[in-house]
């Protein structure tokens, strides 16, 4: 027999707990984290409206990332950690933006902010493996069919998409892991 090394590295051992969940939407101050991808702003606006209607929930602020393929940055994350009761994070629909969506969500969860990320189904595998690698295998996600970008110019289709997303999105914000 020939003995060979595997070309892999030392497996990382990152494990973090998700933030505790509020149990309900009422009274929640929700922030929107927009990574600037096409349709992200429109989708988040409709999500914000849906959260506010029928609940005593308000959108307390929006942070728009300058670059989708990079992190939100320490100061923006700190501000959300101080002010937001929960964050809706969109849109993970490409390689670099999915990676950094996961990164931002993990950072927010570690800072105690329940965060739900909207991810396109074609990039769910990357989202899931990256969330596991960064220590949060159960990182909440609401999955929507790819492609999302064309919906920027079709509010009705986007509305149907958001309606379909809302149950998972609300569960991700309010239910502890294992109860979804």
């Amino acid at each position: 027999m020939v003995k060979l090394y595997a070309p892999t590295g030392e497996t990382n051992t990152l494990v973090f707990d998700l933030a505790s969940r509020p149990g309900g939407l009422d009274g929640l101050n929700v922030w929107l984290l927009d990574n600037g991808k096409a349709s992200a702003a429109e989708l988040l606006e409709q999500v914000g409206n849906a959260l506010a209607s029928g609940h005593d929930t308000r959108v307390g602020g929006t942070h728009r990332k300058r670059v989708s393929g990079a992190g939100a940055g320490a100061s923006a994350l700190r501000r959300m950690a101080e002010e937001a009761g929960a964050v809706v994070n969109a849109l993970a629909d490409c390689g670099g933006c999915t990676s950094w969506s996961v990164h931002d969500a993990v950072e927010l969860e570690r800072a105690g902010v329940p965060t739900i990320s909207v991810v396109a189904d074609q990039f769910l595998e990357l989202f899931a493996t990256t969330a596991t690698a960064l220590g949060m295998p159960d990182l909440p996600r609401a999955v929507t069919p790819y492609p999302v970008a064309p919906d920027a110019s079709d509010p009705e289709r986007l509305g149907r998409r958001v309606t379909a997303l809302m149950p998972d999105l609300i569960k991700g914000l309010t239910s502890p892991p294992g109860h979804r």
Binding site: L4, Y5, V67, L126, A133
Partner: protein
């Protein structure tokens, strides 16, 4: 570290490809015997880590670097060049996370400076970007192996490039310092003339530029500028990145003979490599993407440069006789080049 026992009649290349390791070409089997001998010769601590590689975020230990370098066909003396490139990728500004996972076709271009790579015979002259030079071929391949095998960035999995890039097999060269009219690239970047250095740049491939003959520097620069102002490049919809000019020595001499410095080249490129706001708007790139808000008020006739500052035009001298230079566009504002000293 995980080991495998293979019966001698099994092909290691097939066995590794089945596990998702490799690039499709034959590998050199990284036997425990050879890897341990190389580690001893390098006097490296096998467990010391050079950093975590996304998207697995597993640690690239020195042993993992040697394993991947052996797989790629490196000789032991080439391995410090591989380790240095991996360390250079750790600079947060380089944004290895995006380089590894993005849907756009990004690979790290490796540019070496200094006497060590030259003494090893890394080609900087004719055909410097390959093929045929075993040093650059294996060093570049080894860096790719560390990135994909340690980082779990197999195409379609952790690496989500839509089409990919042949430069992901290997993209490595050396500055032709001997043929340059200016100080070496790494010296311009602040390192000493006796230092060995490596620069990594998240490039989107290369665009080739020739010139029509004996033309003044301005026209050489105009030709180079034209190469990267196409609408749809990441440089425009993610303003704030860098671009690298790989100047053929003859182009550099034409420019330098008129008294131009590297800084003059950077300024001229910054001034000429621009796109009209109107054309970007008409092509649909505004306001879809990551445009700065201050661009909103600009008239269609205004022009915006491919980079935010002349210093973001990186200039290196590469190649042999002839007048074909290359422009390396990058993936835009989400990443920057990183230059570090090679530790020997």
């Amino acid at each position: 570290m995980t080991t495998l026992e293979l019966s001698p009649e099994l092909d290691p290349t097939e066995a590794y490809l089945e596990r998702g390791w490799g690039d499709g070409l034959p590998i050199v089997p990284p036997t425990v015997e050879v890897v341990d001998a190389y580690l001893a010769e390098l006097d490296w601590d096998p467990q010391e880590t050079l950093g975590a590689i996304p998207p697995s975020w597993d640690a690239a230990t020195r042993r993992a670097v040697v394993v991947n370098a052996v797989m790629a066909g490196c000789r032991v003396e080439e391995i410090p060049l591989v380790a240095a490139a991996i360390e250079a990728c750790q600079n947060p500004d380089f944004n290895l996370f995006t380089v590894q996972t993005t849907t756009s076709p990004v690979a790290p271009l490796l540019l070496y400076n200094g006497s060590y790579a030259r003494a090893l015979g890394m080609n900087a002259g004719a055909g410097a970007m390959g093929p045929g030079d075993r040093v650059s071929a294996t060093v570049g391949r080894a860096v790719r192996f560390v990135l994909s095998n340690v980082g779990a960035a197999a195409p379609g999995k952790g690496d989500r490039a839509t089409i990919g890039l042949p430069a992901k097999f290997s993209w490595c060269t050396r500055e032709h310092e001997e043929a340059s009219p200016w100080e070496p690239f790494h010296v311009a970047a602040g390192f000493g003339p006796d230092d060995d250095a490596v620069t990594v740049l998240g490039g989107h491939g290369m665009i080739t530029v020739c010139d029509p003959g004996d033309v003044p520097p301005e026209q050489v620069m105009a030709a180079l500028a034209g190469a990267c102002i196409g609408v749809g490049t990441n440089l425009f919809f993610r303003p704030g990145g860098q671009v690298m000019l790989l100047l053929a020595p003859e182009h550099a001499q034409i420019i330098a003979t008129e008294g131009w410095t590297r800084s003059d080249v950077q300024t001229a490129y910054f001034e000429q490599a621009r796109q009209s706001v109107g054309q970007l708007r008409r092509s649909g790139y505004h306001p879809m993407r990551d445009w700065p808000e201050e661009y909103d008020a600009l008239p269609d006739s205004a022009t915006i440069p491919v980079v935010a500052d002349p210093a973001d035009v990186l200039v290196a001298i590469v190649g042999g006789p002839g007048r074909y230079s290359h422009v390396v566009p990058t993936h835009g504002a989400s990443g920057r080049s990183s230059t570090i000293r090679v530790t020997l």
